[in-house]
Amino acid sequence: MNRTNIRERAEASFAAMVTQSVSEARTPLGKTDCRATRVHGQWLSPPEPRREGLPSLSSRRSGCQAQIRGPALTAPTPDATISCLTLRRRHLSFASLAQALVSGALVGCFYALMALGFSLLLGVARAMNLAHGELIVLGGYLGYWLWAGSGLPSILLVPVAAAALLPLGIVWEALLSRLPEPRPLNSLALTFGLSLLLQNAIRALWQGEYRLIAEPMLAGALRVGAVTINTGRLFVAATALAVVGLLWLGLTRTHWGRAVRATSIDPQAAALLGINVDAARRATFLLAVGLAGATGVLFATLHYLYPVAGVELTLMAIVLTIWAGVGRLRSVLVAGIVLGIAEALAVEWAGPRWRETAVALLLLASLFARAGGLARGLGAGAGGR
């Protein structure tokens, strides 16, 4: 049996079940290693089987079956397709390569936006915000809650969630400006504590349930040649680029933006130039936290939300900040796209299970290779203990 036949047969079997809730389905697949799940046209990393509310796909190496196990999908849509891909020992076709490039680049724009919030805080406060991912997830939950309650399109929710998180920006600023030396290390510990608080708050408000902003508009797909572009990703990428563009304009063209940049480069010199350094810092905190909120809404359209989803996001943001340098917009964008493409290729090749681990390894490698540069970016002596 060749691969295409297998896939077609599997999809045919599942298509028959599309209109029902899928609780368990079996399909013959032949001797393939099946590790990936695609639901609603999007890749999902299978979470631990004990988590409620999500299907998980598993297969046996020697057997001929694939199973979808788990409670019913919460919102089956007419065009839910479930397909499997073979693993490893296969050649990446040009089509799948191109697909990875495009999908990866699109999600990479999102990653870049995500990293910017972290990078801004690092630049202006010399503080590493380990709670960055949790802020994003909080923004996502808020966005979901508003979407589910009001039915507004998610594009409108982006600025709303951003605004809703602004009070937290004031809290973060109040806490992080009190940090004793050594700032980088203490900021790590402090924000770790804050991330725990946020996780618990999210759990208290929304329990551990998975949430997704599943707008019909976002579930479509465009076909461009061999490549399928998911409209949800396109929307996210477009919004992310728009926000980054606005940010760039703001930081370079406005008086306020220049004040912020000067403060992050050298606060003392900025003060001497007459810039209100405190106001600039506070503004940057608000901006960074607002960005996290906006990112959260976009994240909620891409990926299921769960309380500890922020960990991976924070790690990715740190990786990108190490690659691109502190507060450099263009570099972050490029780095984000590179990361997105690399991730897509890796998932094509090895499946999504090891993604979190791969990000952690990537962070380790990046720290090893570039920590010196990051420390220099923060200023001499600031990178140490």
């Binding site: 806490l175 290390l185 510990a189 504590g193 725990l196 996780q199 979190e356």
Partner: protein
């Protein structure tokens, strides 16, 4: 001198507690876990004494736990498996300790954090070996020791005394280190690594020693933990939260002090289990998080700072 007396008295009280309280299983379990945490906090403190702040001690805990679990399930005597678990913790620590050649401070901390995530990922995804998310069950408990009274080594009581012995071992080692050349080297590397280097110290060797000791004892704690709860899964032992807990406890008790971290660990743990948990079970992490924030912003000396300003890690 005073600290020694306190420690010995405390140890005696704790050793006498089970028979006096009738081997009450819940209390035994509670205190066993408290001792394990105190040991991990002290082990973390040892590494911090050498100047290396770790945000990834969960890695060593989990490595010890999984190694002991896998080997015990594979047929090895739990004692041997536990010993190998200790070695696994030490080896895992050495591996990331090598990073300390290039990374310091916040960057080393981040690296240890990422390191713990890597091991968690391996435990989660290498399903064939580790059982994946579901983990492993049916891990044997520590067997009774033939030449000791059965009541002291069986079941919960056995775990209690093992954990207590383990804690006393860590504290004894720390006390020995503090009074010896090793402690001097650790302190020198911590305070002024370059300067110490110019005086003839090779910093890497001492840092690796600190990592190995800290990781080994933490791995042993992990092994003891799985023998107590008899199950292991990634989120139980490689939990990110377990990386920050020793830091909170050690800072709360007084960084670099001898007894501070252990005392704070036991107090905080008992407080959270006995007071917070019944009241608001979902929020027990919140207590630690708040403790961490308070300690960093307002109370850098921790508990030990209350007792003596000049107190510096000498028993």
């Amino acid at each position: 001198m005073r600290a020694w007396i306190v420690a010995l008295a405390g140890a005696a009280v704790l050793a006498a507690l089970p028979p006096l309280t009738g081997f009450h299983p819940y209390w035994l379990y509670l205190l066993t876990t408290a001792f394990l945490w105190a040991a991990v906090a002290s082990a973390w403190n040892l590494l911090a004494y050498a100047g290396q702040i770790s945000f990834g001690h969960a890695a060593f805990f989990g490595l010890g736990a999984y190694a002991a679990a896998l080997l015990a399930l594979g047929g090895l005597s739990p004692w041997t498996a536990g010993a190998i678990g200790t070695v696994a913790g030490a080896a895992g620590a050495l591996l990331i300790g090598i990073a300390s050649t290039r990374l310091t401070g916040a960057y080393l901390a981040l690296a240890t954090l990422a390191y713990a995530e890597v091991w968690r990922g391996i435990a989660l995804n290498w399903t064939d070996v580790t059982g994946g998310g579901a983990g492993l069950i049916g891990i044997p408990a520590l067997p009774e020791i033939a030449w000791l009274p059965v009541a002291l080594t069986r079941g919960r009581a056995g775990a209690y005394y093992m954990a207590l012995a383990h804690l006393l071992a860590v504290l004894a080692l720390f006390a020995f280190i503090l009074r010896s050349r090793v402690g001097l080297a650790f302190a020198a590397v911590r305070e002024e690594e370059e300067r110490a280097s110019l005086l003839g110290l090779r910093p890497l060797g001492w840092k690796l020693l600190a990592f190995a000791l800290s990781g080994g004892f933490t791995g042993a704690a992990g092994a003891l933990y799985v023998y107590t709860v008899r199950v292991v899964e990634p989120d139980l032992v490689f939990n990110r939260y377990y990386s920050i807990l020793p830091l909170v406890m050690a800072m709360f008790g007084g960084l670099h002090t001898w007894l501070g971290p252990a005392a704070a660990a036991i107090s905080l743990y008992l407080l959270s289990e006995l007071v917070l948990h019944p009241v608001a079970p979902a929020l027990h992490q919140v207590g630690y998080a708040l403790a961490l924030i308070v300690v960093i912003l307002y109370w850098p000396g921790g508990l030990a700072g209350l007792f003596s300003r000049k107190r510096h890690a000498r028993p």
